[in-house]
């Protein structure tokens, strides 16, 4: 028998006790108000990537890598908010802006078909979010509202296709990049984001690929393909693997030869 579901987890006594507990909790919350776990604490507890984001911010601050933190693929703003919080905890005297790029229109089409991601996915919310219901439309306001709710300084959001928006502000408005979080799933998007960021990347910059092991870990597809092509086209950079983290992610440090 192949296992697809679990049965008989609780006895009847357990179920009754569980219902009483739930009832008691509801009554208590009604009487004195619900427990207030700060929004950022809720986000960090639920996100497997949070500890690596914190380490990455500490790294660029300790090593004094100058420049801004750019995210390609903002979606509902959770990862950009954790990165911004990581900086707010202990900026070590570094001044940084937090910048997000996204079309907010969902994934574009790609030459590589994926088992799960289809064009236009990610235009609506598909995961837990403290301020946005499941299935709601994803807009730049969601991220601005999240930052305000977490009492973080407002991020800069550039709305549109990567090829248009990045070239408009990098390197003119953002001459230095200390950390780039590439959370855009596809080969084409990752390639465009890396190429457009190239003139602003700093020696020691951290590149975090959120979707590195998609396409069954195949090194000739997705983000992995885009980064190896980038390194071949830019022999001035050496990439050092920093760590793999969460289910699909891989971070690197870029060093100038």
């Amino acid at each position: 028998m192949r296992l697809a579901s679990r049965r008989g987890r609780h006895g009847r006594g357990d179920l009754v006790r569980q219902l009483i507990r739930r009832g008691a909790r509801t009554l208590r919350d009604l009487a004195i108000g619900p427990d207030e776990v700060p929004i950022m604490t809720q986000i960090i507890r639920r996100d497997d990537r949070a500890s690596t984001f914190m380490c990455a911010l500490d790294y660029i601050n300790y090593e004094r890598i100058p420049g801004d933190v750019l995210e390609f693929g903002v979606f509902t703003g959770l990862s950009l908010a954790i990165l911004s919080q990581g900086h707010a905890f202990d900026p070590k005297g570094m001044d940084r802006r937090f910048v997000g790029f996204d079309s907010f229109a969902g994934l574009p089409s790609s030459a590589d078909a994926h088992a799960r991601w289809q064009p236009a996915d990610c235009a609506t919310n598909h995961g837990w979010h403290p301020r946005l219901p499941f299935g709601a439309r994803v807009t730049p306001e969601v991220t601005r509202d999240l930052f305000a709710a977490c009492e973080l300084p407002e991020p800069e959001l550039h709305v549109g296709a990567f090829v248009d928006t990045i070239a408009r502000v990098v390197p003119s408005r953002h001459p230095a990049i200390a950390l780039a979080h590439l959370d855009c799933d596809l080969y084409e998007s990752t390639r465009d984001a890396l190429e457009a960021s190239a003139p602003a990347l700093q020696d020691g910059a951290m590149l975090m690929f959120d979707d590195w092991f998609h396409y069954r870990g195949n090194p000739r597809k997705g983000q992995s393909r885009a980064f190896s092509e980038f390194l071949s086209a830019h022999p001035e950079w050496i990439a050092t693997s920093y760590r793999t983290y969460a289910t699909f992610c891989h971070a690197f440090i870029l060093s100038r030869r």
Binding site: R6, G217, T244, F248
Partner: protein, 249 residues
């Protein structure tokens, strides 16, 4: 809200919780959740199972080296708590006779080691013989459906089941410490490996991290004598663990 009000509310909340616990009893964490919380390998087991689910890697979850069943139970839990669309067998292979002889010397692991329990376990006291029944009872206690256990030496049991009844493997947990055992496992599972299979080595850095000993020697040789697979490094974890994704060339 002023700090005084906040602190009063916190105190009131705590009193109400204690009163509730006195009436209906304290909330007891499910056994499997306690095991997961205490096991440093759990985040990677959970990620590996999520990976094969999201990427649509077909096949079963197989462990070679079951011992007292804790890691097999965690893999089953990681699979079932996702309410999976893809049904997968949970299979454990073990002789339950402790370690066989090996050419590699280790200061702690000798021939016959691990035939009795050596770590904390919710059912089996330290020093008790390790049997397939301990794993079955652990699964029952955790509310997990009974796993399939193949009792015997890896070369024999894998030959009898792969690929005849286990034709595809999505997650392979190799937890057998020794070079010879890991060689038997890798040869035995070969026909069931998939593009995207995750291979978790529990004892990768054993033998002082020496790459020409133990599981890392076995995997190095396995990769060198074939041209079908690339091994993509996935995560290092726990004290000695390292995981790879097998990718079709």
């Amino acid at each position: 809200m002023s700090p005084i009000v906040r602190s009063a509310r916190r105190r009131l909340r705590r009193t109400l919780s204690l009163a509730r616990d006195a009436v209906v009893g304290r909330h007891v964490e499910a056994t499997i959740e306690t095991i997961a919380r205490l096991d440093r390998r759990w985040p990677v087991f959970s990620s590996a199972v999520e990976f094969v689910a999201v990427e649509g890697i077909p096949g079963d979850i197989v462990e070679c080296g079951v011992f007292t069943g804790l890691s097999l139970a965690l893999l089953a839990h990681a699979h079932l708590r996702r309410e999976p669309e893809t049904p997968r067998l949970i299979v454990g292979f073990d002789a339950f006779e402790g370690l066989p002889p090996s050419t590699d010397e280790h200061p702690m692991w000798k021939t016959g080691s691990l035939s009795v329990n050596a770590w904390d376990h919710p059912l089996l006291p330290i020093g008790e013989p390790v049997t397939p029944d301990a794993t079955r009872r652990l699964f029952a206690m955790c509310g997990l459906p009974e796993p399939r256990l193949e009792v015997g030496w890896f070369a024999d049991t894998l030959r009898a089941t792969v690929p005849s009844s286990i034709s595809q493997i999505a997650v392979l947990h190799i937890d057998c410490d020794l070079y010879e055992s890991a060689c038997d496992v890798l040869q035995g599972v070969r026909p069931a490996l998939q593009d995207g299979t995750i291979v978790l080595f529990d004892d990768w850095f054993l033998f002082k991290g020496n790459p020409s000993k133990g599981e890392s020697r076995a995997f190095g040789e396995f990769l060198a004598e074939q041209s079908e697979w690339d091994a993509v490094p996935y995560r290092t974890y726990g004290t000695c663990g390292r995981a790879f994704i097998l990718s079709s060339r």
